[in-house]
């Protein structure tokens, strides 16, 4: 028992995420094989990976925002708007693809800038700021777009429908974005500041960091990635749709994926790798339940339970392992007995 606990303690939260993913995978293989299907057939792999792409883009952006101590609830509406702009500008003309993509991402960046400025400069909590911006966009969408709009050209649609082996191109682009976001976090000054601001904004401020910059940067990147998700959806659907973002419930689902990936909701701690693990867990879970033809209402029950149970696994571990950061003195028992403030205000 003690042996197990110490093995468990040595794992970082990212490792545990992938351990949970591995357990999900094994479970998936057993269940899917039990009804005479193959989990590893190309169609199934492609189905799982397709499931990771859209949520993946949004969750990467959400990770940055959450690391900076904020939240983004406007992502579904940005995604819908992006799909409409892309399909509208391209209008089934292959020559317009580049301008469509640039205009879409530019608009998304402007929305992200607005989010960031409201959060950083007007001191509105991210929850309310992005909820408000989301509502503003949603009213705009409902007023100006009647159902689907525009059309994406064949060349652009192939992005969403082609794959290398069973791996969709969209997944590869998503992973590339994840890599870039990882570089930003670990290799740039803004990235380091992002962790600092999310960890303790007051300390960051007193140590001379311009706290606005990382927060605004994170919001801009998050919206741009939501815009990427919109582009991907425009590619897969062939048209833009004013509801495609809210259909996926990507706001709460992306936050859940981020936290499932071991990132602290209060900011300052977490990794992109972990988030990808969280997204993969969700995608496999959905796939398994669809193959097993689970009642749609029960799917939500399973999802809800899994989110809580999985996070509970690392959340407990985080407390246990905390004393190790100060190994010099102090008994191990006292911090465990006392509630340690994991989340700050």
């Amino acid at each position: 028992m003690k042996q197990r606990a110490s093995f468990f303690q040595r794992l970082s939260s990212t490792q545990i995420v992938y351990l949970v993913a591995l357990v999900t995978l094994i479970l998936g293989v057993l269940l899917v094989n039990s009804i005479g299907r193959s989990f590893f057939s190309p169609g199934n792999i492609s189905s799982i990976l397709t499931g990771t792409s859209v949520l993946g883009f949004i969750a990467i952006g959400q990770t940055l925002v959450i690391l900076a101590g904020s939240l983004d609830l406007s992502v579904p509406y940005v995604t819908s708007l992006a799909s409409l702009i892309a399909a509208g500008v391209m209008a089934n003309n292959p020559n317009n693809v580049l301008s469509g993509v640039l205009l879409t991402l530019g608009t998304a960046a402007v929305i992200g800038l607005a989010n960031g400025l409201i959060v950083a400069r007007l001191n509105v909590h991210g929850f309310i700021a992005t909820l408000g911006v989301g509502l503003i966009i949603s009213g705009f969408l409902a007023t100006n777009f009647k159902g689907s709009f525009g059309e994406t050209p064949l060349a652009f649609r192939l992005v969403g429908a082609t794959g290398i082996g069973p791996v969709p191109i969209s997944t590869i682009i998503m992973l590339a974005c994840a890599g870039l976001a990882g570089l930003l976090l670990h290799r740039t000054r803004v990235g380091h500041h992002l962790y600092a601001v999310g960890g303790d904004i007051a300390v960051a401020r007193t140590s001379g960091i311009r706290v606005d910059v990382p927060v605004i940067t994170a919001h801009v990147i998050c919206s741009v990635l939501a815009g990427m998700a919109g582009l991907l959806l425009a590619s897969r659907l062939g048209v833009g749709s004013p509801t495609v973002g809210s259909q996926g419930g990507y706001d709460l689902l992306s936050i859940a994926a981020v936290v499932l990936g071991g990132t602290l909701l209060s900011g300052g701690k977490g990794t992109i790798t972990g988030t990808l693990g969280g997204v993969l867990i969700f995608a496999m879970l959905d796939n398994i339940m669809s193959v097993m033809q689970v009642n749609p209402f029960l799917k939500d029950v399973v999802r809800g339970v899994v989110i809580v149970v999985a996070v509970a696994v690392y959340a407990r571990r985080r407390i246990v392992s905390r004393p190790e950061r100060f190994p010099a003195k102090g008994s191990v028992e006292t911090p465990a007995a006392q509630p340690v403030p994991v989340e700050g205000p």
């Binding site: 995978l25 199934n44 009647k146 159902g147 082609t162 749709s241």
Partner: protein
């Protein structure tokens, strides 16, 4: 050390996936989209207005059309038109059906889904269908596209039934299903291709709008106020209802004010209360019957005269209509259409011709038929739809009374 074990575990989780990347061949998605997507490019659904005069005129005519077939089995009736030859699909034995469903997120779809499952059991009993594999997209276009692609790649389906979540977005996925050479049945909402073996639907939203708005405008004066309670924007089935009604209200000089309610009775009651506070409301129009009772209760609580009203064939509205004795009608978006796709496949597997576009009857419930429909649906819960059309199926009435969803 720590970093190494991260990689080890990540690798262990990803290894089977990676290994497969190496050894699989091109997935069917790649092959099919190349050929499939080209044909959809013709139509561009970029209209900013839902009103469509030609659809309006067609559906207006279909309201009074004669339907082929036995009126006792409305789910098999259709308007005469081009038939589809299905002799190439003729095959004996039991077949596997794959059903890509948009969702069961509202009572209308749930009622239909229950009926469909009882129909399935009947056809399994007669050996026409071996099993039906269902994927539910939870109202998500992207998920439904992936569902259809999964069926094509992995389902070993003998036939596809698709209830599209939205029209334009699902078009290419339906075309990919068509390219498998298996029969494809589309029902409820359509897609922008006629590659499917048949497209099953009741007359449509414009007919609903014409029925209801005509009913109200016949009973109201020019200048009277009607409150229009709509569920949500952007869904074609619902938008067509309002587009037609709005046109008629404008023509007749009836002042109609529309609201989105999300089918939430709380919002409906607030809206009606506010409207009653600012002036008289003579009529209530709904694009779906959910929450009709709350609208009437708002009049009761404010002590105002009850309005002329159009609801839907939903049980709570029918019951309240009977109780209050108001001047009302219940338009119908025929719920029995959920039986038809499987029955159509039965014909297809026998090689019998079926209508290329299978337009089902959509007859509103008027005052003189109210008692009869209440009688037929005694004991049904409030989210049940009177014209569900499953009275002759096994499990009637308990399955519908208890809303047993598999």
């Amino acid at each position: 050390m720590r970093n190494n074990s991260v990689r080890a575990i990540a690798l262990a989780a990803a290894l089977p996936l990676v290994a497969l990347t190496g050894c699989t061949t091109e997935p069917s998605v790649t092959q099919t989209t190349g050929t499939g997507t080209g044909s959809a490019a013709a139509s561009s659904p970029a209209s900013k207005d839902w009103f469509d005069q030609s659809l309006y005129d067609t559906q207006n005519q279909q309201r009074s059309a004669t339907f082929e077939g036995n009126p006792e089995q409305p789910y098999l009736q259709y308007i005469a038109g081009p038939m589809r030859d299905t002799s190439k699909f003729k095959a004996p034995g039991a077949h596997k059906v794959c059903f890509a469903n948009a969702s069961i997120s509202n009572p209308w779809r749930q009622t239909g889904w229950i009926t469909m499952n009882q129909q399935l059991k009947a056809l399994q009993g007669t050996g026409v269908i071996s099993e039906m594999e269902t994927r539910d997209a939870k109202d998500n276009d992207n998920t439904q596209i992936a569902d259809i692609d999964y069926f094509i790649a992995e389902g070993k389906c003998d036939a596809f039934v698709i209830s599209p979540n939205s029209t334009a977005a699902l078009t290419q996925a339906v075309e990919r299903a068509c390219e498998t050479g298996k029969p494809v049945v589309v029902f409820d909402r359509g897609v922008e291709t006629d590659c499917a073996t048949t497209f099953i639907h009741p007359i449509g939203g414009f007919a609903w709008g014409i029925d209801t708005a005509t009913f109200l405008s016949e009973r109201l004066q020019s200048g009277d106020k009607v409150v229009a309670l709509r569920i949500l924007p952007g869904v074609d089935v619902l938008e067509h209802r309002w587009a037609a009604a709005k046109k008629i209200f404008e023509e007749k000089g009836i002042q109609a004010k529309d609201y989105f309610t999300g089918a939430d009775p709380t919002k409906i009651k607030n809206i009606i209360s506010d409207e009653l506070a600012t002036g008289d409301v003579k009529g209530v129009w709904m694009d779906a019957g959910d929450g009709a009772v709350a609208a009437l209760e708002a009049f009761e609580d404010a002590g105002k005269k009850l309005p002329v009203m159009t609801g839907e064939d939903e049980m709570s509205f029918l019951t309240k209509w009977k109780q209050t004795g108001i001047d009302a009608m219940a338009p119908v978006y025929s719920n029995f259409q959920w039986r038809t796709p499987l029955l159509a496949l039965e014909k297809v597997f026998k090689g019998e011709p079926i209508p290329a576009e299978w337009v089902l009857p959509q007859k509103p419930i008027l005052k003189d038929e109210l008692d009869q429909w209440l009688q037929r649906n005694q004991g049904m819960p409030s989210g049940h739809y009177a014209k569900f059309g499953g009275e002759d199926l096994a499990g009637y009435p308990e399955v519908w009374q208890k809303r047993q969803i598999p």
